[in-house]
Amino acid sequence: MPATASTREVTIEINGLRRTGTVEARRLLVHFLREDLGLTGTHVGCDTSQCGACTVEIDGVAVKSCTVLAVMADGASITTIEGLTDGSGELSRVQKAFHDHHALQCGFCTPGMVMSVRNLLRENPNPSEREIRHGLAGNICRCTGYHNIVRAVESLASEGSVA
C-alpha cells in the first residue's frame, strides 16, 4: 500500500527482525501483526480490551496489542508468541510449564496468557498463588478454569529467568 494522507510507514523490530510496512493510521497493532505480517499466533478475543488474547511484548513489557495502533509501535521492539520458539523450535520455559501442567485446552487464550505469565514473573519472580491469580487478571481463559495455569506458574516461581 503506498503511503497517503491516512497511512504511515512504520518500522518495527518483530521477533528480532526489522519489518517495515505502510499501515493505515487506524490499523490496530494486532491487525498489523495478524493480517499484514501473518503472525496469527496473536489472537483477538474481544473488542473491549477485556480478554488478553492479543497480549504481546513491546519493549519487554506485556501489552494488549488491540489497545495500540500500529503507528504507535513505530521504532519499538516487539515479541510475539512466535518469537519464543524461533530458531530452535524448542519451547521456552513458560511454554514448557504450560505443557507439563496441562494449562491449555483449546489454546486460544494461550499465546496471550504465556506473554502475561512472562511479564508477571519478570515483575515478581516468586509470586504467591494469590499474586499469580491477581497478576493474570487481564487474561480470560474459558476452558481451564485457571487451575492448571496457576499450577504451571507456581512451578516456575523462584526459578529465576523467564526466557
Binding site: E24, R26, R34, E35, G38, L39, T40, G41, T42, H43, V44, G45, C46, D47, T48, Q50, C51, A53, T80, I81, E82, L84, T85, G89, L91, Q95, F98, H99, D100, H102, L104, Q105, C106, G107, F108, C109, T110, P111, V114, E129, R130, I132, R133, H134, L136, A137, G138, N139, I140, C141, R142, C143, T144, G145, Y146, H147, N148, I149, V150
Partner: protein
C-alpha cells in the same frame, strides 16, 4: 479373541500431543486463514427487539468503496433457507426463520442486511451507510411475561408464544402430595448465560476450481454442518467440503446452524470468490446462541424424616425469538427428564413449556438441560433440609438411589436409565476430602464472631451420548446416535485414525490415540488422529453431549479391534498355523507353546498391502471403518462440595475450597479428565456467582452487550478445584466410559448456591436466585436486617 496388553495407555495421565503447535502460536483457527482474492462479509443487525421493517435503502452502501454486494433479506428469501431446527419435539409449532429478516425483526441482533467488500474495514464502513426504517413493536423478553394473555405475540403460528408442551409423569404425584407430612413450593430461576468461547465464530467459504465448495468453520459437528448447509443453500452434499480446523472452545455454541454459516457459502458461489465472516465479541453477544434461561416452579412433597415422596415441576424454557437447532429438546427432554437427580423420587410430574421471546435464540450450553435438571433436584432436596432443619448431607443419604438399584429407571421412566453408580461412596469420598465434620464445627464457631461461612453440597447424575439411533426418532431428534471411526494402517504398520468426533480443546489427538494404542499395541507416535474434514473423515456426528469418549472412543476401540482381527488372520497364514492358535501380544503375533518366532504387526501390515501371501478369501489392505451405534447411554455422577465465606457488609463471596468427586466411568486420561472438571466447575461457579444476561424488559435491549458488562470470571475470582474420581465402568460401551465434559457445569451451580445459602442461614434466608452477586446478597441481608429493626 483375547488380546493381552502390552503397555497400557488408557488410564495414563499422558501429556497432550496437540499442545506443541498451540503453544508455539501455530494453531490454525478459522480467522487465521487468508485466501487470495478473499472478500469480507459484514452484517447489519437489528437495533430493535421487535419491529416491522418498513424500508431498507442499500444505495449508499452499494456505492461505497470496495463494496461488491449489498443485500437485504428479500433478495435471499427464495435462494436460501429457511433455517430449520434439528430437534423438534413432536407437536411443536415451528416458526419460520429466514436467514436474513424480511419484513419483521424479532430480537436485537437479528440480521437485516449484509455487505460484501474487499476489506473488512470497507465492509464495516458500508454497513454504516445502510438506511432502514423500522416501525417499532412492543417486545417481551422474560418467559413469565411471554406466556401472559396480553403479551406481544412473536409468530402467527405460535399462539401464546409457546412452541412446545412436554409432559413427564411417573407414579402418582397427587397421592404423594396428599400423604406427605409437608409440601413446600419453590420458584427457581436458571439465569441466561452467554457461552463465551474465547474464539468467536468465523467462517470462510471458498469455491474450488473443480466447482466444489470448501467451508472452513469452527464446528463441533462438521458432518452435520455439511448436511445442513447443503440442504439449506441447496448445494449437493457431496460437492461440499466442511473443514473444521483448530477451534477456540465450543461449549455447545458451535454446534448450531447460524445464518452466517449459510450466507458465506451462498455468497462465495454467487461472487465466485472466497468470502469470510468473523464475529466481533460484541456481535457474538447478540448473534451466537445463549444458554439456560429457565424458570421452574417446584412443589416438593416430603415426610418429616426428610424422605421426598413426590415432586412436581413446571418449567418455562425461554428459547429466544426462533427455534435454534436443538431448542425444543433443552427445556424438555434434557431438563425435566432429569428433574429427580440422584434421588429416589417415585412420584414425579413435570410440564415443560418452550417459550419464544424477543431475545437471542437459546440453545445448548455445556450440559444443556442437565444443569437445569440437576438444579431442580438439588434445590428441592436443599429446600427439604432447610425446611426441616436437617443436615444437608443426611437428607441426601436418605433419598439417594442406592448402588444396588442400578440399572435404575427414575420414576419408572422409559426414557431415562442410570446405568451404574454408587452415590453413597461418592459422598463419603467428598466428605472426607472436604473434612466436613471439621468444617461444620468451624462454621458454627465462627458465626459467633460474625463470620459467615457456609458449606455447599450437590450431587448429580445425567446421561451422555444420545443413542441408540433408533431411539432418537420418537423424540424428534433428526440425527443418529452413532459415531464412526476408520483405522487405516499403512504398509509400515502405522495408523491413521479418521474420527467423526471433533475436539475443541478436549484433547482427542491424545485420548483417542490412547484408546487405539492399547488395542493395536503400537506406540502412540505411530498413531495420527484426523478430525474435522469431511473430505477425509468418512462420516460423523461430532462432539457434544459428552459423547466423544463414550461413542467416538468406542468406535475407535471397535475398529482397532477389527484391524487386529484381520491382521491375525493374515498372520496365521504367514505363520502357517491355525488362526485360533495365534495370540497378539506386545505388538507381535505369536503361537504360544511353540518355538515359532513372533511376527511383528508391521510385517503383517506390509503383507496386507503387498498381498503376496494372504489366506484364501482375505482381501488386501488393513483398513477398517466402523459406525458404532451404542446400545445405551452412560450416566456419570458426582458429589461436589464448596466452602465459602460471605462478607455481610459487602455481599462478596470468597470461595475457600472446592472439592469435586466424579464418577465418569473408566478414565482414559486422568490429566485431561481433571482439566474437564476444572473448566466445567468454573463455568458453573460463573453461573452461580457472576454471569447473567440482562435485557431491558421494556425495550428488549441487550444490556450485557460486551465483555465489559458480562462478568466472565478471571483467575482471581475462582478457587483451586480439588478434583478426584471414582471409576464405575459403564456397562453400555466396551471401554466403560460415561462422559465427563458437562459434569462440572452441572454440579457447581447448586453446590455454590447451597454454600452461600448455608452461610446466610443465620439470617433466615432460604432461597436466592443466581447469580449470587454482591448486590443481590447484600440486599437480601439488608432486607432481613431492616425487617428485624422494624
Amino acid at each position: 479373541m483375547t488380546i493381552s496388553q502390552g503397555t497400557r495407555h488408557v488410564g495414563q495421565p499422558l501429556k497432550r500431543r496437540e499442545d506443541l503447535k498451540l503453544l508455539a502460536g501455530r494453531g490454525r483457527y478459522v480467522d487465521d486463514l487468508k485466501l487470495p482474492g478473499m472478500l469480507y462479509m459484514a452484517i447489519l443487525r437489528s437495533p430493535h427487539a421487535h419491529a416491522k421493517i418498513d424500508s431498507i435503502d442499500l444505495s449508499l452502501a452499494r456505492a461505497a468503496p470496495g463494496v461488491r454486494l449489498a443485500l437485504s433479506g428479500s433478495a435471499l428469501e427464495d435462494r436460501i433457507g429457511p433455517i430449520v431446527p434439528n430437534w423438534i419435539i413432536p407437536g411443536s409449532k415451528v416458526p419460520v426463520r429466514r436467514v436474513v429478516a424480511t419484513d419483521r425483526v424479532r430480537f436485537v441482533g437479528e440480521s437485516v442486511a449484509l455487505v460484501v467488500a474487499e476489506s473488512l474495514a470497507e465492509a464495516y464502513d458500508a454497513i454504516g451507510l445502510i438506511e432502514v426504517e423500522y416501525d417499532v413493536l412492543p417486545a417481551v423478553t422474560e418467559e413469565q411475561d411471554a406466556v401472559r394473555g396480553d403479551a406481544p405475540q412473536l409468530h402467527e403460528n405460535v399462539p401464546g408464544n409457546i412452541t412446545t408442551f412436554y409432559k413427564v409423569k411417573g407414579g402418582d404425584y397427587e397421592k404423594a402430595n396428599r400423604e406427605a407430612d409437608q409440601v413446600v413450593k419453590l420458584r427457581v430461576v436458571n439465569n441466561r448465560l452467554i457461552p463465551t468461547c474465547m474464539e468467536t465464530r468465523a467462517i470462510v467459504a471458498a469455491p474450488e476450481p473443480d466447482g466444489t465448495l470448501t467451508v472452513y468453520i469452527g464446528s463441533q459437528v462438521p458432518h452435520m454442518h455439511r448436511r445442513w448447509i447443503a440442504e439449506t443453500v441447496r448445494i449437493p452434499e457431496h460437492q461440499l467440503r466442511v473443514v473444521a480446523p483448530d477451534i477456540g472452545g465450543g461449549f455447545g455454541a458451535k454446534m448450531h446452524l447460524y445464518p452466517e454459516d449459510l450466507l458465506c457459502p451462498y455468497l462465495a458461489r454467487e461472487l465466485n470468490a472466497p468470502v469470510k465472516w468473523w464475529e466481533t465479541r460484541s456481535e457474538s453477544h447478540q448473534s451466537t446462541s445463549h444458554g439456560r434461561a429457565h424458570t421452574e416452579d417446584l412443589e416438593i412433597a416430603f415426610n418429616n424424616d426428610g424422605r421426598i415422596l413426590g415432586l412436581k415441576v413446571s418449567t418455562l424454557g425461554n428459547v429466544g425469538a426462533y427455534l435454534s437447532n436443538m431448542a425444543t429438546g433443552g427445556p424438555t427432554v434434557n431438563t425435566v427428564n432429569f428433574g429427580t437427580g440422584t434421588y429416589k423420587i417415585e412420584n414425579y410430574e413435570a410440564l415443560s413449556r418452550v417459550v419464544v421471546t424477543n431475545t437471542v435464540p437459546v440453545d445448548a450450553y455445556r450440559g444443556y438441560g442437565r444443569p437445569e435438571g440437576a438444579y431442580i433436584a438439588e434445590r428441592a432436596i436443599d429446600a427439604v433440609a432447610r425446611h426441616l432443619n436437617l443436615d444437608q448431607v443426611e437428607v441426601r443419604r436418605r433419598n439417594f438411589i442406592q448402588a444396588s438399584d442400578f440399572p435404575y429407571r427414575p420414576y419408572g421412566s422409559t426414557g431415562v436409565m442410570y446405568d451404574s453408580g454408587d452415590y453413597q461412596a461418592l459422598l463419603d469420598k467428598a466428605l472426607e476430602a472436604f473434612d466436613y465434620e471439621g468444617r461444620r464445627g468451624e462454621c458454627e464457631a465462627l458465626r459467633g464472631n460474625g463470620i459467615y461461612r457456609g458449606i455447599g453440597v450437590a450431587a448429580y447424575t445425567h446421561m451422555c451420548g444420545m443413542a441408540p439411533s433408533r431411539r432418537l426418532a420418537p423424540g424428534g431428534f433428526d440425527r443418529g446416535g452413532w459415531e464412526s471411526a476408520r483405522v487405516s494402517i499403512d504398509s509400515s504398520g502405522r495408523a491413521t485414525i479418521y474420527s467423526g468426533s471433533m475436539s475443541q480443546g478436549q484433547g482427542h489427538a491424545t485420548s483417542l490415540a490412547q484408546i487405539a494404542a492399547d488395542v493395536l499395541q503400537i506406540p502412540l507416535e505411530d498413531i495420527e488422529i484426523v478430525q474435522g474434514d469431511t473430505r477425509q473423515v468418512q462420516a460423523g456426528h461430532g462432539t457434544f453431549n459428552s459423547r466423544s469418549m463414550a461413542v467416538g472412543g468406542s468406535s475407535v476401540h471397535v475398529s482397532s479391534h477389527r484391524v487386529i482381527t484381520k491382521a491375525k488372520t493374515i498372520a496365521a497364514g504367514m505363520l502357517e498355523v491355525d488362526e485360533k492358535d495365534v495370540s497378539y501380544s506386545a505388538g507381535a503375533f505369536t503361537v504360544p507353546g511353540t518355538d515359532i518366532a513372533p511376527l511383528t504387526f508391521s510385517k503383517v501390515a506390509r503383507m496386507a498391502y503387498v498381498g503376496h501371501k494372504l489366506p484364501d478369501g482375505v482381501a488386501p489392505g488393513l483398513d477398517e471403518t466402523v459406525f458404532y451405534d451404542p446400545t445405551g447411554m452412560g450416566a456419570p455422577s458426582g458429589v461436589h462440595m464448596a466452602y465459602v465465606e460471605v462478607d455481610p457488609e459487602t455481599g462478596i463471596v470468597d470461595i475457600l475450597d472446592y472439592v469435586a468427586v466424579d464418577d465418569v466411568g473408566t478414565l482414559i486420561n486422568p490429566r485431561l479428565a481433571a482439566g474437564q472438571i476444572h473448566g466445567g466447575v468454573v463455568q458453573g461457579i460463573a453461573q452461580a456467582l457472576f454471569e447473567e444476561v440482562s435485557y431491558d424488559s421494556e425495550s428488549g435491549q441487550l444490556l450485557t452487550g460486551s465483555l465489559l458488562d458480562y462478568a466472565v470470571p478471571r483467575a482471581e475470582h475462582v478457587p483451586n478445584i480439588r478434583s478426584s474420581f471414582q471409576q464405575t465402568p459403564s456397562p453400555t460401551n466396551p471401554i466403560g466410559v460415561k462422559g465427563i465434559g458437562e459434569s462440572g457445569s452441572i454440579a457447581a451451580p447448586p453446590c455454590m448456591v447451597h454454600a452461600v445459602l448455608d452461610a446466610l442461614s443465620p439470617f433466615g434466608i432460604k432461597h436466592l436466585d443466581m447469580p449470587l452477586t454482591p448486590p443481590r446478597i447484600w440486599a437480601a441481608i439488608r432486607s432481613v436486617r431492616e425487617g428485624d429493626a422494624r
